[in-house]
């Protein structure tokens, strides 16, 4: 039984695409390993809901900008490539924002300025410049997707802990029983503020480095 399952899995494991995805998700996670995209990770991780929405918006933008840049990579002149990449990313971000405003108005209101700030997120430009410029469209798209999800996973992890210990909620629902508060438990106000996010992200970075070293 096990061998039947293991064989196609082992074949998948040998592909370049698989290695790239694992690298983006774990070994070179944009936030906890490469320390990229910290600014938005600090800003939107007070609550899980905004963290999830932001992660999905960023994932979409990285995946599609990687795809477009990869498709254009043969014709982009080397000397203006960064400008071209930024133009592509900015266009996608604005279109995504307009689409959210037209069809998912409530979500767009929650994310407010942060969708626009995806343009300045180093992960997006980092992936287009380092990967999409040198790889075929399919792999570039996958790489963008994996990096976006790597970013999202850390964001959601940080947001979960900040929301749980900072305001006693998970996804907006109170989870800490009233009896705890009566017994003297207090929400940690520091976690709601930016320094709390710094400490949390620092702990995630520590965790990832320790686990990677142990292997």
């Amino acid at each position: 039984m096990n061998t039947v399952v293991a064989k196609p899995w082992a074949a998948v494991k040998r592909t370049v695409a698989y290695k790239e995805v694992i690298k983006a998700l774990w070994k070179a996670n944009p936030i906890s390993k490469q320390i990229l995209g910290i600014c938005s990770a600090l800003a939107v991780t007070v609550q899980m809901q905004t963290a999830v929405a932001m992660g999905l918006a960023l994932t979409t933008v990285v995946a599609f900008s990687s795809l477009i840049v990869s498709l254009l990579r043969a014709s982009i002149p080397r000397n203006i490539r960064i400008i071209v990449q930024v133009a592509v990313i900015a266009t996608l971000v604005i279109i995504a924002d307009e689409l959210l405003k037209a069809f998912l108005y409530d979500v767009s209101k929650q994310l407010s300025v942060f969708v626009g700030l995806i343009v300045t997120n180093c992960i997006v430009l980092g992936r287009t410049e380092a990967y999409a410029m040198n790889n075929p469209p399919g792999r570039a798209f996958l790489d963008g997707l994996a990096n976006g999800l790597g970013y999202t996973s850390v964001l959601v992890g940080v947001a979960f802990l900040r929301e749980l210990f900072g305001s006693g909620r998970v996804l907006g629902y109170p989870v800490i029983p009233e009896a705890f508060y009566q017994a003297g438990y207090v929400n940690n106000g520091l976690l709601v503020l930016a320094p709390g996010a710094f400490i949390m992200i620092g702990l995630f970075v520590w965790l990832e480095h320790t686990l990677l070293e142990r292997k």
């Binding site: 002149p77 000397n79 071209v84 266009t91 279109i95 689409l99 407010s112 106000g189 503020l193």
Partner: protein, 245 residues
Amino acid sequence: MSGNFKSLLFALILCIVCSLLLTGASSGLRPWQERNALTDRHRNVLRAAGLLEEGRSYSAAEVERLYRERIRELQVDPAGRILERTDSPKDAAGLPIYLSVEGEEIIGYIVPIDSRGLWGPIQGYLALDRDGATVKGFAVYQHAETPGLGGEIEKRWFRDNWVGKKIVTREGRFVSVGIAKGRAEETVPKEKQLNYVDGISGATLTGKYLAAGIKDTLSRYEPVSVKFRKNLLTELGLPSPAASN
């Protein structure tokens, strides 16, 4: 030279394509966006007036139907007199005001709040009872405050916080409603607690600006509120509510 020319040509084509896409997205989606924004404002007028059930989601059509049934839009001049319906709703002299009605009876009024916030304007509505003194509800439809901190102004606990507060002191002097630093019970003297709502920890400045914005708005609408307080609705040119108190 030819390399530079190619770069310029590429940049030019890219710019044209991008601007076409952006123009297309912006103008093509505008009707939907404007309808969403209008429905959202109507939704928040209703929410401030306490006409929406909490925890239930209302479709755009339901919001519009409820809005037509329960809300009347009016313009008043700074002295609190009703202005003739003008063609342009943005008449410089007129202050917009919304009446919440139950059948033919006026049960309260709603004023639009346009306040400064920490990161950008805060826009919302404050609903008052027909006694001209008691807050019936508060709702925000546009702000740029930090989610989880100042952004809590749009959350239910903060909105519920306003219900039943008074914009006047016990003696009847207008003071507006302030936002306390932390819990009003702990930080505000007992006799003033009716004029303060609980603040948001970590968002003192948002509270400060919003309280100032609300005070400013309410003082502009004070002539209207006075008429409600004196039960002079007939002077407003509207049917007086059936025997109050």
